[in-house]
Every structure is written in C-alpha cells, then in structure tokens.
C-alpha cells in the first residue's frame, strides 16, 4: 500500500471504530489531484492544478440509512460528518435490505493502475506535448482552426472501511489529450475532435488524435440535410460507446428490482443479435476505467452480461443483490466521496469482430456512417427504450462512403437496435469513458431529415 493510501485507510478505520451498538458504518475517504492544461494558438490558455480530498460516511441502523460528506479531512469536519450522518439516519424509511457491503471472499485482481512515469512526468513536458498536439492538428489540413487542445491527468487514492470487515484501499492514475477543431470553407464551419488516452503520456498517439480531429471536421464540409428514410446505420466506435453506456443502464440491478428496466423479465432470453456479446470487465488494464475495487470496496470482476445475444445477468451492488436474492457482482459505482454507492457497469466492451470499418461499409447499399450524436441525454429514454438523437456523418451508397450529412436524427428503440445488430467491427478503440468503442452495423433505423 502506498503511504498516502495507508493514511486514508487510517482515517476510515478511525471513523468506523466510533460505531455505536446496532450501527453499521462505512467510511469512504479519497484524495485526488488533477492537472488540466489548455493550449490555444501556441500559448497556455489555462493551467489548473487541483487537489481535493474528502470523506463520505454512511450509517445504517435498524434498516434506516443516513449519509453525510465533507470536502475536507479536517478532524473537526470528520466529527461533524459522523454526527450529521447519524442524525440523518432517523429520517430514512426502514428497509430490510439496507446495509453496507460485507466481505464476499472474492480476491482482488491486482493490476498496474499506477504509473510512476505519469506521477513523475514534468509539467513542462505536459505543456510541450499539448502544444505539439495543436501543431500536428493544424498541420494536418490547411482548412483547420483549433478550438482548443487539452491535456488532463488525474491521480486518485481512496480507502474504504466498514464495520462488517471490509478494509481496502487503492490508487490509480491516468491521462488523456484531446483537441477540438473547426474546419472552414467560405461561410461554412464544421467541427471535429480527437483524443488519445493512456496510463502515462508515453502511451499517447498524438498523430492519430490530430489526424482524426482534422478528418472529422473537414469531411463534414459541404454537409446537407438528408431526406428522411429507413436505412442501415454504422455507428462509429465513439458513438457506439455512448450507446453501450445507455444499454448498460437497462441491465442495472437497481433498475430491475425497482421495475424500471425494460429487460427485467428477460434473463436467459434472446435480447440481442446472436453475434452480440457484452462484457463488463474492469480487470482489463486497457480500459480507461479499469479498477481493482468497486465503490463498496469489493473486488472488481469480469461479468458477461449478454452472450450470443442471450441476457446472462444484471449488474449489482450489495443492496440491489440482497434485494434480488443474489450476490453483488462488484458493480457498486461511486461518484467520489459525495455520494452513496449506486449500481452500474464499470468498463464495458463488446466482443469485437474481425473486419475493419471500411470492410463493413463495403457491404452496405444504402446507409449512413454516424460519426457524432447529440442529445443522448434528452432523446433517449432507457425506461421505455424509445430513442432519437441528433447526428452527423457520411452517407454510404453501394459500399462506398458518400457525401456528408448533418442536422438529422436517427431513431429506433433500444430493444430493436440490439436485435438489429448486423455486425461488430474489429476496430476496438479505448476511450476516456466507461465503455470501449467498436463499429456497430445496425440493420434498420429511421433517419429524419428534410
């Protein structure tokens, strides 16, 4: 254990030692540091160096839960948080399943989630590579302007302790660069972006990020609003990853027990195309969100959610599992010390196919390659399954990429879309989000445009 994590563990231990008879207490303590660098026209626009720390305390007594947090590890503040959490207990409704997690005997799979290279990386070199990314992107195409080029890294340590005997800590760091582009042609402007992620900056592929950022913007120049029709849709890896995040919310054990999942009665049934295999695997260190521990301190583990299109299991934290009569799948998610653990996928991945995106496209007579979507938060209802999102991309005609299109929507239902998966690409892309990207071909969606 690192010195820092050990100190956090000691704070958590000291809190749970103050549990009163009949109380179950969980203390979650974390400390993060972040660097954010933004470069614009060769100059640093901003440089943010941020440290934050805090504690969240959950108390369960007689089936009632109370919670409080503070963004400091000051002794007096911790005492106040404990008192507030205790006071909040009495307002909860008794719930026979309420409780903190209990040790489940599953061993932690150790991963190399801490990079000394990143931890020791000099500020000057971080700035230099951000400037380099801006230069490479500008050089990629004469029509390109830069909106901003960014470098971000985060290092976090956390510890959790419970009166039920969980006592674990961990630390991880990671970084990414991103660049937003504008491409101009006369009065018209289009936008693009590119990024690269890594455990350390040595993993970055700046040239690829620059090329993609330039290409995404320039290839939309001249885009028109397409006529409405039904057609085959290819989701670019970045877009597919966003859909996977939403699909996983329908496999959330909490949504299932509360009757909000459209797949709640479908375990063991065919819910997707037979070639669709969805895995949540936080033990894969290639995943940006790989982790050793879930939000309750249980070992993170690999879970197959859909296999051969058949729904295998839901994901659970200890509460949803207890209520559903099963065991936690190690899927407690926690947005830092300010909240109690919810349920969610940690690192989603669709089993990739073998063919490149170009090969997938070569089979399509009338289709559209969707390179970006907007309004995922407003136009997708994971409870009813209805969705429609704004989109932009390139038409596909007789196996070839055609003209750019924008200001249209693609719509279907999540249920249909899963069944309509025609093929999965071999182009897996690790993204700075909870799902990896891969090209997905969907047989039949509605495009609404002119």
């Amino acid at each position: 254990m690192s010195d820092g994590a050990e100190a956090l563990q000691a704070i958590a231990d000291a809190v749970i030692a103050q549990a009163k008879p009949g109380e179950h207490v969980e203390a979650y303590v974390s400390r993060d540091s972040e660097t954010d660098i933004r470069v614009y026209e060769g100059q640093i626009e901003h440089f943010v160096s941020a440290q934050s720390e805090g504690i969240g305390i959950r108390i369960v007594k007689d089936g009632r839960t109370g919670f409080a947090y503070a963004g400091t590890l000051d002794q007096q503040a911790i005492a106040d948080v404990l008192a507030e959490a205790r006071d909040n207990v009495e307002f909860g409704t008794p719930d026979e399943w309420a409780g903190v997690a209990e040790p489940d005997g599953v061993d932690v799979i150790r991963q190399a989630l801490w990079s000394e290279t990143l931890a020791g990386y000099s500020t000057d070199r971080k700035i230099e590579l951000t400037k380099e990314l801006e230069r490479l992107t500008l050089a990629a195409d004469s029509r390109i302007r830069i909106d901003d080029a960014n470098y971000s890294d985060v290092a976090g340590e956390s510890a959790v302790a419970t009166t039920t005997g969980i006592r674990r800590s961990g630390r991880e760091n990671g970084c990414y660069v991103s660049v937003s582009t504008l491409a101009d042609d006369g009065d018209e402007t289009q936008t693009g972006f590119g990024f690269s992620v890594g455990r350390s900056p040595d993993d970055f592929d700046l040239a690829k990020a620059a090329k993609e950022a330039a290409e995404r913007a320039t290839r939309l120049l001249g885009a028109v609003k397409p006529p409405s029709r039904r057609l085959t849709v290819v989701l670019d890896p970045f877009v597919a990853a966003q859909f996977l995040g939403i699909i996983s919310s329908t496999l959330n054990g909490e949504a299932v027990i509360k009757g909000r999942s459209l797949f709640r009665d479908r375990l063991g049934e065919q819910v997707a195309s037979p070639l669709f295999r969805l895995v949540d695997d936080p033990t894969n260190p290639l995943a940006y969100t790989a982790t050793e521990l879930d939000g309750e301190g249980l070992a993170a583990r690999r879970n197959v959610l859909i296999d051969g299109g058949v729904l295998q299991q839901f994901v659970h934290n200890s509460y949803s599992a207890r209520r559903a009569g099963t065991v936690s799948t190690g899927n407690a998610v926690r947005g830092g010390f300010k909240g109690t653990p919810g349920v969610g996928a940690l690192a989603l991945q669709v089993q990739p196919g073998t063919r490149s995106q170009a090969e997938l496209i070569s089979d399509i007579t009338d289709g559209v390659l969707v390179q970006s979507v907007s309004g995922m938060h407003s136009g997708v209802n994971p409870i009813s399954g209805d969705f429609s999102t704004g989109a932009s991309g390139l038409l596909i005609s007789n196996g070839q990429l055609g003209g750019p299109v924008r200001e249209f929507t693609i719509a279907s239902t999540l249920q249909r879309m899963l069944l309509d998966v025609l093929e999965v690409g071999g182009d897996i892309d690790w993204l700075p989000m909870r799902a990896a990207g891969v090209s997905l071909v969907i047989a039949d969606m509605t495009m609404s445009g002119a």
């Binding site: 614009y40 160096s49 934050s52 936008t191 409870i383 200001e407 929507t409």
Partner: protein
C-alpha cells in the same frame, strides 16, 4: 469568510511575480438532499463544501489552483501554485485596495433551509409519492428528490473588487413510471427557486406529482412521433431551452471570441424573426438562475441580447471583456471553488408577443404541439442543435389530438430563430435547469410564451 487583510496579502503574493490580475473566490456551501424511491425515503444526505479557488492571469495565460484550507497559509500556498502555473517573469509589489461591490437584491430569504427540520423536508417527498401513486393504477414507480443549498461566496481581486453574496436555493423533482400494454412510459416534473423553504408555501407539490403521473399515463397510449419536417408549436414555459440552445450558447463571448459561434460578427444584424426579443436576466427575483453577484464579483444584470430580432450584445465574463475592451455583464459563473469561471447564462427568456395561444394552435393545420421539453445541446460553431420532447401531441386541423412518444428535434439555430412566425402573449418560466458547459454545471432558468416555429425536423420513427 476571510479577513480583509488576509485577502489583500494573498492577492499581493499572487501578483508579486508580475501577473496582471489575481482573484480569490471563496465558497462555503451547506446542502441537504433527500431521496425517495420505491416508496421509501432512501436516505437524507448532508454536505459541506468549503474552499477557495485562486486565479492568476498573466498575458493570455490563466493559472488556477484551489484549496479546502481557508487559512492564510492555505490560501498563500494556493496563490503560489496559481502564480507558478501562470508562469510569470518580472516582479514588483502592488498594493491592493479593496472596495465593496453591492450585489443585486434578487430576493428576501424568510426561512433558511438550515432552520427547517429535516422531517419537514422528507414529508414533502412522502406527499409527492402519495399524490403520484393515487393518480392512477398504471403508476408503478415513483422516485422523488428534494434538495436545498445555502452558498456563501466571496470574491476579491486585484482590480479592488470585494463582493459577497449568499445564494439560497430549493428544489423538488419527481419522475414516475407508468406501465401499460405497450411497455413503460415516464413522466417528470420539478420546481426550483432561488429562495428559502418558504417556496413550498406556494409550490403545490401534489399538483406537480399529479401532473407527472398524468404525463406518464397519457404517453401509454402515445403513438410514434413523426419523422421529418413539420410546424412545431411550443407551449408557454416549456420551450425556453430552445433559445438556450438555438442561440444562448452561441451568444457567449468566449465562444464568439474564438470564432466558435455562428453569431460571431453579427451584432446589429437581424438574426431572428422581428417578433423575438431575448433577454438574459440574472436579477429575476427568486428564479432558478437568479444571482446577486456572478462568480467574479460582478452584480447580476438584465441584459437584452436580441431586440426585435436584431442582435444587440453577447454575454461577457471578466477575461473576455478585458480582452475586447467591453464591460462585464454579470455572466461569469462557475460550478464551485474548484472551477474556473466562464461565460454562462442565468435566466434566459423571450418576451411576450401578441398572439392568443389558442389562435396559434388553430392556425396550424398539421404539426406537433410540445407541452414539455427535455434537455438539449448545441454545436455553437455550426448552430445545429437538438432538444428532447418529453410530452408532445399531434396537431391535426388546428386541434391538439393524439399524444406522441418521446424523441429529439433537430434544427439549426439561426434558421429556427428566423422561422418563428407566431408568438403568444402568455409568457411563463419553465422548469429549473442545470446548464452544462466544459464539464461544469450551473443552475439556469428559461422561459417563453407559446410560440410557433414554421418548420423543424421531428426525429420520430413514423412515416
């Protein structure tokens, strides 16, 4: 929150190396939230966020650091990090004389949320749950949330500004699930104000709950939304997000300054139908986006952005105003002391027109009537935007008829603004919103009278 002398010493230390500008933003926020789901009060949460962010500007570079330690030593350490981040040369000692800036008076707090028993807050959720569940047998799930916050902020900078404000907010929201033969549908309602707990003397939480339930039940018989271009009528108080996305973000001076807005260089030009006058108003009493000062210490203002269709001005923060020799407009906001401020909206709304709302529907032969919009987003560089419709109906022969399933609408901001061809006289504000930009969320309000857009693309699945 912080002693006057400490402020001047820390600011002095921050610019000792030759920076032109330094600012301390301190915040002390206490919040309470409670969640009800599945018939249970799941938990009450108490939160405390307290700290300071220090910004140092040298040339075009901003250095920023924050700390949860409000002692002089803690602040000095953060000031040094921020100054180092702004990487300055030169040197010199500056004396800073702070002058107090008075915030705009946006409300009077009668009942601070910290003085209200938690039991009274939890009771609101129980009332919401009961009202929603008794609205119909089809209602199978209810989740509701209550939140309040008391946020004290202090801003001091090397221009001599010293300002303090206290922002008190309360919020209630609920979502319900109805189950029918064709699957599940959802309904949503919320109310939020920049005021104390007395807001619940006038907000009828049962009525909100019944409305969310009605919405979900209505949608059980909804048919797929049309696919393609149609006239759209948007009910009063439900479509402010259209302006927030169609032009609000594009009028933020930071995006304009980088050439990332379709509205760049358009001041003085006709950018919307002459029916449209658009205002961003941080002074609007008790509304969700109301503030006494912005997060750079500038008093909130009433800013006309578009007058009778002509673009009059953008919204400004300190940095962009300084760069372009403009005055600040009270739009420099940030999520918390851990964030840099940027140009943000407050309460953004369209003033009344003259049409009777019923006439607008009657004048529409075939179209869509939107009674509630969800969120939206925009690409400010192209003007293309989307927003979700969470309650919508078909208009046939000038009458509102069948309910429609959910979907997004897409449009292009400059085009849609020009296509507004009828504007009602029934102005209303909408639900409280959280506007996201560059990873930061801030509370915003929006509003508009009933209006019609000649044509927009509806992203449904029906032919």
């Amino acid at each position: 929150m912080i002693d006057h002398d400490v402020l001047t010493r820390v600011l002095g230390a921050a610019v000792k190396g030759g920076a032109e500008f330094a600012e301390i933003f301190a915040e002390d926020k206490r919040s309470t939230s409670a969640g009800l789901d599945d018939g249970r009060i799941e938990q009450v949460t108490s939160g405390r966020d307290r700290g300071a962010g220090i910004r140092v500007v040298k040339g075009d570079t901003t250095g920023f650091a924050h700390t949860a330690d409000l002692s002089e030593a803690g602040l000095l350490a953060a000031a040094q990090s921020a100054a180092a981040a702004a990487s300055q040369g030169g040197g010199g000692v500056r004396t800073i004389a702070l002058t107090r800036v008075e915030p705009t008076k946006v409300n009077t707090i009668e009942c601070y949320p910290d003085d209200v028993p938690k039991a009274a807050k939890v009771e609101l959720l129980r009332r919401v749950d009961e009202a929603a569940r008794s609205a119909g047998a089809a209602i199978v799930q209810v989740s509701a949330g209550y939140g309040d916050s008391r946020r004290r902020i202090l801003v001091a900078n090397t221009d001599g500004v010293l300002a303090e404000d206290e922002q008190v907010r309360g919020l209630i929201r609920l979502s319900v699930v109805a189950n029918g033969d064709a699957g599940m549908q959802t309904g949503f309602q919320s109310a939020g104000q920049t005021v104390g707990f007395e807001m619940f003397d006038t907000v009828d939480v049962e009525a909100l709950a019944r409305d969310a339930a009605r919405q979900a039940i209505t949608k059980l018989s909804a048919r797929p939304a049309p696919s393609g271009a149609l006239p759209v009528v948007i009910k009063r108080g439900s479509g402010g997000v259209l302006f927030h996305e169609a032009c609000g973000h594009g009028l933020e001076a930071d995006l304009v300054g980088k050439g990332a807005s379709v509205y760049r260089g358009k001041t003085g030009e006709l950018v919307a139908s002459p029916l449209v006058t658009l205002v961003d108003d941080g002074t609007m009493s008790t509304e969700w986006g109301a503030i006494g000062i912005d997060d750079e210490g500038h008093p909130s203002q009433y800013n006309v952005l578009i007058q009778d269709g002509v673009l009059t001005d953008y919204m400004w923060d300190y940095l962009r105003a300084r760069k372009e020799g403009h005055r600040q407009s009270g739009n420099g906001r940030r999520q918390s002391y851990m964030h840099l401020p940027m140009v943000r909206m407050t309460n953004t709304y369209v003033l009344n027109g003259t049409d009777e709302p019923d006439d607008i529907v009657r004048a529409t032969d075939h179209g869509v009537y939107i009674a509630q919009l969800g969120g939206g987003s925009v690409n400010t560089a192209t003007g293309d935007f989307v927003f979700g419709m969470t309650e919508a109906y078909l208009i046939e022969g000038g009458e509102i008829t069948e309910p429609l399933r959910e979907g997004n609408l897409v449009g292009n901001g400059p085009q849609v603004l020009c296509d507004i061809d009828m504007l009602g006289n029934d102005f209303g504000m909408g639900n409280p919103g959280t506007c996201g930009k560059d990873g930061q969320g801030v509370p915003v309000g929006d509003g508009q009278p009933t209006l019609r857009v000649k044509t927009m693309t509806i992203g449904g699945t029906a032919a």
